[in-house]
Structure formats: structure tokens, C-alpha cells
């Protein structure tokens, strides 16, 4: 029979350590409000650690691991976990899961930890409704908010991550889902995929990170209904893609990013029904990009809508709405009668002489852009929307 063990300043048991010693698999340890400074806590039984009245587990910045989950089916719910300290030698974590499954980490607040939640070779876990606030200042001395390495079947949902290195980091993670999270003000990326396949992220908000999301060397990643906002800075972008294959990017919104999507090598990616508004560059392809489909997107008031640097490309760019389009629709079918060339001569110039950016919006530039539009000489001729939409597409 599972039982409940009460821990609290006024209870019979004062420390979580003691309670864990007494517990057996299946027990619930109910921890009452108070500050617990017990050093590292090792959970080696399948128990539920439930906080009541916001108990605080404080590491006092003594540079140690705070909680380690070393059993399957552990739940940690309702704690504030803080002051883990920083080490240059070890990756210190607020909660670490090692080679275990079926864990649940929810409703916790993790403050001033190097890595907040660190998952290694873990699977089938849920990380839900946690708030993570770090104090990252530079990339070397800081860790990620939710860090996953060689994991499977994770569900990460409803979390908020501020001021870490990467908000959420995936390396060799498969079949996992990241949704409804908010990732803000992180030094490097809001969400970062490395060598991870068959994952989805949806309905997240990425704001004011070095880059909103970076997807690198990964396959079959689905990206749906996310918002990428104000990732603004000299090399910042909303979404960074590097060497990825067979992904889908649908119904996302990119607002006020220096670059909406920066693509360095993408093959067979579908860009569908996304909105790009008030970005410096909406989409910028720098490496070789093949067989991509860019359809039914809205490009509104971006300084540059599209840059494609390689001369050879076989991407499809049809049926988008471009606010810069000035053509007409005589047969009233909603599709412009003249094709649209989204690559401006000026963007071609800027990619070669970046200093020329200082001439942005000058009359001379408008004139040469117009001349190039009428008779393309420098911009790639096959980058063309044959069916530009007259009205904004409702996504």
C-alpha cells in the first residue's frame, strides 16, 4: 500500500532526506512550505515529491547538483529550486534525470541554476508548467534551461524560460514534442535542435533571444504556429536552419526580427502559410538550398523579402502575398497577372558590400531597384513568384 509521508518544519520529519530514506516505491512525500537546505538530494525510489505552500530547496550557491532523479516513475511537483551555483568543470543542474523513464516535472520554479532541468539518456518524460529564470551573462559560464541529450518521447509544454544560454536544448532527441512554451531573453537560442530527428514544436513564443530557434543537422522537424518576435541584433534571427532535411514550417509568425528565417542549407522543406512582418530580411538563403517549397506565405513590410545567394536553385516560390507587389489583376481571380521578383538588386549589392546598407531607402537605390525589376541583370532570374496573391492570405 502506497502511503504519504509528510515533511515540514512543524511535522515529525524535517528533512526530505529523511523522508526519502523512509519511503518505498509508490509513496508520496508531501513537503510543506519552508526552506530546505540539504545539499544534493538523490531520488532513487519511484516516489512523488509534492510541494505544498511552495517549499524552497536552496543550494546556497555551493556549486552542487540539487536534485537527481535516479529511479523510474518519479514526479516532482510544486517546488521552488534555487541557487545551484556555477561550475566551469561540471554541468550543474537544478533537476537531473539520468537514464530513467516516466518522470514528470511540473509546476516548479527554478531560479539561478546553471542548467535548470538536465535530461541525459532519459525517455518518456513530461516537463510541464515550470518557470525557469536564469542569470546567464556569457555563454561559457551559463547553461541551458531545459537540456536534453540522447532522449526519446519527451513532452515539454507550458514552460517559461528566461535568461539562460539556450532556453531549450535538444541533442540526439527523437520523437519529442515542444509546445506552448515561452522562451525569452536567452543568450543564444530560444530553442535549439542538434542532430535530432522526428520532433515537433508548436504554439511557442520566442522573443528577444540571440536567435529564436536554431535547427541544425536534423531531419523531419515540424514547426507549427510559433511566434518569433523581436530577435533583433546584428546577427540575430527568428529561425536559423542549418543542414536540415524534410521539415515543415507552417503557420508561424515572424515579426520584427533582423532576419526572419536564415537558411544555411535546407532541402525538401515546406514553408507554408507563414507570416513575415516588419523584418529586416524575411527569408535569407545563404547555402545551397534545394527542392524547397515556399507557398501561401504573407510577406508584409520587410526591408527585404527574400535573398537567395546561390545562382542555382530549383525552389518553388508561388502563390504568396507580397506587400511590395505592385502588379494588377485584370481578370479578378485574386492572383496578380504579372509575376513578382522578390529579390531586390539592393539586397544583392548588400550581400557583396555590406557597408552599402547605409544607403537603404535612398532615392538612388529605389531607382536602380526599379530598373532591375523591369529588366533583371544581376538578380537570379528563376527566383520568381508566378502567381502572387492580391490580398493577404488568412492563415
Amino acid at each position: 500500500m502506497a502511503s504519504t509521508i509528510l515533511v515540514g518544519p512543524s511535522a515529525r520529519i524535517h528533512s526530505i532526506h529523511e523522508a526519502l530514506k523512509a519511503a518505498v516505491n509508490g509513496d508520496t512525500i508531501l513537503v510543506d512550505g519552508g526552506v530546505y537546505t540539504e545539499g544534493s538530494i538523490l531520488i532513487d525510489k519511484s516516489v512523488t515529491l509534492l510541494g505544498r505552500n511552495n517549499p524552497v530547496i536552496d543550494g546556497l550557491a555551493k556549486n552542487l547538483e540539487l536534485i537527481t532523479i535516479a529511479a523510474d516513475s518519479v514526479t516532482i511537483d510544486g517546488f521552488t529550486i534555487q541557487n545551484g551555483g556555477v561550475s566551469f568543470l561540471r554541468d550543474l543542474a537544478g533537476i537531473r534525470v539520468q537514464r530513467k523513464s516516466f518522470f514528470t516535472i511540473r509546476n516548479n520554479t527554478l531560479l539561478k541554476t546553471m542548467f535548470a532541468i538536465y535530461l541525459e539518456k532519459a525517455s518518456n518524460g513530461i516537463i510541464q508548467q515550470n518557470t525557469i529564470v536564469g542569470e546567464a551573462r556569457d555563454e561559457i559560464s551559463s547553461g541551458n534551461g531545459i537540456h536534453a541529450w540522447y532522449c526519446k518521447n519527451l513532452t515539454i509544454t507550458g514552460n517559461t524560460v528566461y535568461n539562460q544560454r539556450d532556453g531549450i536544448y535538444f541533442e540526439f532527441v527523437e520523437n519529442s514534442k515542444v509546445s506552448h512554451n515561452i522562451s525569452k531573453g536567452n543568450l543564444r537560442y530560444g530553442l535549439h535542435f542538434m542532430f535530432s530527428n522526428n520532433d515537433d514544436y508548436a504554439d511557442n513564443l520566442f522573443e528577444n533571444n540571440g536567435a529564436g530557434v536554431a535547427v541544425m543537422f536534423s531531419k523531419q522537424i515540424g514547426m507549427f504556429r510559433n511566434t518569433f518576435k523581436k530577435n533583433w541584433g546584428s546577427s540575430a534571427c527568428g529561425l536559423l536552419l542549418k543542414e536540415i532535411y524534410d521539415g515543415r514550417i507552417e503557420q508561424n509568425t515572424f515579426i520584427k526580427n533582423t532576419t526572419g528565417i536564415k537558411v544555411d542549407g535546407s532541402t525538401r522543406i515546406q514553408y507554408l502559410r507563414n507570416s513575415f512582418e516588419n523584418n529586416g530580411w524575411a527569408i535569407k538563403f545563404v547555402g545551397g538550398c534545394y527542392d524547397n517549397e515556399i507557398t501561401s506565405n504573407n510577406f508584409v513590410s520587410n526591408a527585404f523579402d527574400l535573398v537567395i545567394e546561390s545562382a542555382r536553385n530549383n525552389n518553388t516560390i508561388d502563390g504568396n502575398y507580397w506587400s511590395a507587389y505592385t502588379g494588377y489583376d485584370l481578370n479578378k481571380d485574386g492572383v496578380g497577372d504579372v509575376p513578382f521578383r522578390p529579390v531586390k538588386l539592393f539586397s544583392y549589392i548588400v550581400s557583396r558590400s555590406p557597408e552599402a546598407m547605409v544607403l537603404l531607402r535612398s532615392l538612388f537605390i529605389d531607382i536602380i531597384d526599379y530598373a532591375e525589376k523591369i529588366r533583371p541583370m544581376f538578380t537570379p532570374e528563376n527566383v520568381i513568384d508566378h502567381a502572387p496573391m492580391m490580398q493577404k492570405i488568412i492563415v
Binding site: T258, G280, A356, M357, V358, F364
Partner: protein
Amino acid sequence: MYKILKYAFYDLIRSKWSYVYFAFYLLISGSLLFLTGDISKVIISLMNIVLVLVPLIASIFGVMYYYNSREFTELLLAQPIRRSNIFLGQYFGLSVSLSSSLFLGIGIPFLFFGIFRSAEIWNFFILILTGVLLTFIFSALAFLVALQNENKLKGFGFMLFIWLFLAIIYDGLFLLSLIVFKDYPLESLSISMSMFNPIDLSRVLILLKLDISALMGYTGAVFRKFFGNDNGLILSSLVLLMWVIIPVAFIARVSKRKDF
């Protein structure tokens, strides 16, 4: 000087061209605001108009006003006032009246649209400020050119060329030099080249305020350092001010030595 300024202003502000100029801005900014409803976007569109039109109109009006009031200027020259005061008074009268048309024409629709409750108030302010400074700069250049050229046609032609040069040709040469010397570090060159053209400088000032600084920053560290902080902003504003002060000083100097 103030007395001359006052009467020149009264005279100019009642002219039909002042009304036309005012009505033009009223119409443009009003219709843009009510059609798009997006203040930030309207400021960008207006910027494109202001940067081209303000210098052109100030050039034309400046030259025209000088030549048309030549006889009256002779009467003023026979009065017990300093010569430089006459021309500076006329010049400031002209600049202030043109600026008023611009300021009211753009300002009134924005006021109705609630600019004071908008976050774009500073961008609006910079737009108006650069518009006013450009008016002062190009009126001064026009006055100077007219003072130096007795021949109306020559004066007009020369001033139009100055406008064409600064509005378009200069940027062409600028771009060309960036492309030709692209293997060298060009940041200082492009910063100083934009300093030497008041139209470019105004454009950069507005764009910086309009949050395109990050796009600018893309080009490199020196650039970002210069344009990205307040010192760059202050220096740019000072340089624009020098673009007013230097031609005005020349007006005072040239007018002292000239025979009428």
C-alpha cells in the same frame, strides 16, 4: 534681423504657394494615416517623400524668393540696417514659413491620429526635425547660390543641379566607391560619406530611430558602434546643424562684399 524676418514671414506665409505646400502635406499624411492606420509605416513613407521633396522645394523657393524680391531688397539696403541682417532676415523668414507648412501639414493629421499617445512619438519628432533642418539647409544653399549668381537662369540651374547631385548622383557615386573598393575596410569611409550629404545623413538619422539600426549593425562593428549609440546620434545632429550654420555664415559674408 528679427524685423525683416517678421515681415518676410508674413509675406510668405500668405502666399498661395505656402497654402499649396501645406495642403500637399496635409493631404499626403492624412490620407496615408487613414488608409493604412499604421503610424510607423506612414512615417517611413513620409520619410521617402520628405527626403526628396523638402530639399527640392526649399531649393526652388529659395532661389525664386531671392530673385523676386531683388528690387525690394534694394529698398531695404538703403535703410539704416546691416546688410547681413537683411539677408539673414529674409532667409530665416523663408525657412520658417516653409517649415511651418511642413510642420503643420504633417503634424495636424498625426495629432488627430493621436501621435502623443503613440510610441512612435520620437520617430515622428525625428521626421519633423530632419524635415525642418533640410528646409533650413537647402534654403540657405539656394540663397547663397542666388546671391552669387546675378543671372536668374544660371542660379536656378545651378541650384537644381546641387539638389540633383545630393539627392541622387551622390548616392550613385557613394555606391560605386563602395563596390570598387570593396576589398578595403569601408566603414569609416561610408560613415564620413554619409556625413557629407545632408540628405543621406537625415535618412540615416530617421532609419536609426525607426529601429533599422540592427540592419545597419549587420555591416560591422565600427558602424554599429557609431550609429548604434547616442554619441552617433548627437554627432549626426551636430553635423546637420553645421550644414545650416556654414551656408548661413557664407550668406552673411558674401552679402557684405557684394554690389547691388
